[in-house]
């Protein structure tokens, strides 16, 4: 579990990488292994440096109600709110819950879609990490008829 000091240290490292990477408007840090190893939505969100979590009607998670096969499930995360740093897509019941993390810059819409493997029916989350550190989320249930992790 990350202590507050470790989280702050990580943020400092991120900030340092920010400056050197040449992307002034958004952080493009090295691969965040802790976030991708996290087993719960809360742990993944904490590992990204969020300070609090709250459900929000202004964040949208899109996906099918039922997927014929868990190997390919189309999922999208979007928000209309300004001041978003990152948008995350998570599958609660996956072995590692974080699927993808998108950095939001002024040049792109806060609206991303990809396809994920789901091991079983599960809630899927879109989490918007705001500039002030708050995490705002939305979720929906996706039923899976055949799991997509074991081949």
């Amino acid at each position: 579990m990350q202590t507050r000091r470790e989280t702050l240290k990580h943020s400092a490292v991120v900030a340092g990488l920010l400056a050197s990477a040449g992307f002034p408007q958004f952080a493009h840090a090295a691969f965040n292994k802790a976030a991708f190893d996290a087993k719960t939505v809360q742990d993944a969100t904490k590992a990204v440096g969020a300070s609090s979590m709250a459900e929000s009607k202004d964040v949208t998670i899109t996906g099918p109600d039922i997927a014929e096969n868990g190997a390919v499930v189309p999922l999208g995360a979007s928000t209309s709110l300004p001041g978003v740093k990152q948008l995350l897509i998570l599958v609660e019941k996956n072995p590692s819950t974080l699927v993808a993390m998108f950095y939001v810059s002024d040049a792109v819409e806060a609206n991303f879609a990809t396809r994920a493997k789901m091991g079983q029916s599960s809630d899927v989350y879109a989490v918007a990490i705001m500039n002030d550190g708050k995490a705002l989320w939305a979720k929906k249930e996706v039923k899976v008829t055949l799991g997509g992790c074991g081949g």
Binding site: F26, F36, A113, K117
Partner: protein
């Protein structure tokens, strides 16, 4: 050298919607082969995109993204004729960049 991506970028109004199909196994590291041994994780970890050479997108992916990944995003201010370049890098260090013109 990995197989090329398919990138389609379509301008509509003040933005361009970009759809990408990447050719990659995206091995989760959860699967076992016929002998019972775990197939090691092999997946795209980082995706970046640029508009006329200027970075516009950065993303980190985990092994849960599907095989032959699909990605859709919208670039503000892009118009027909602009160049979109997409780059991926996987956990083995392999990388691939492909370019498309916004139509």
């Amino acid at each position: 050298m990995a197989d090329p991506m398919r990138i389609r970028a379509q301008a509509a109004g003040d933005k361009a919607t970009v759809r990408v199909l990447m050719s990659h196994e995206m091995e989760s590291g959860q699967r076992k082969d016929a002998a019972g041994k775990t197939v090691p994780a092999w997946f795209i970890q980082e995706v970046t995109a640029s508009l006329n050479g200027k970075p516009v997108l950065a993303a980190e992916w985990g092994p849960a993204v599907s095989k032959n990944p699909f990605l859709q995003f919208a670039v503000k201010g892009a118009k027909a004729g602009d160049k979109i370049a997409v780059t991926w890098k996987d956990n083995k260090g392999d990388t691939r960049t492909d370019e498309a013109t916004v139509s």
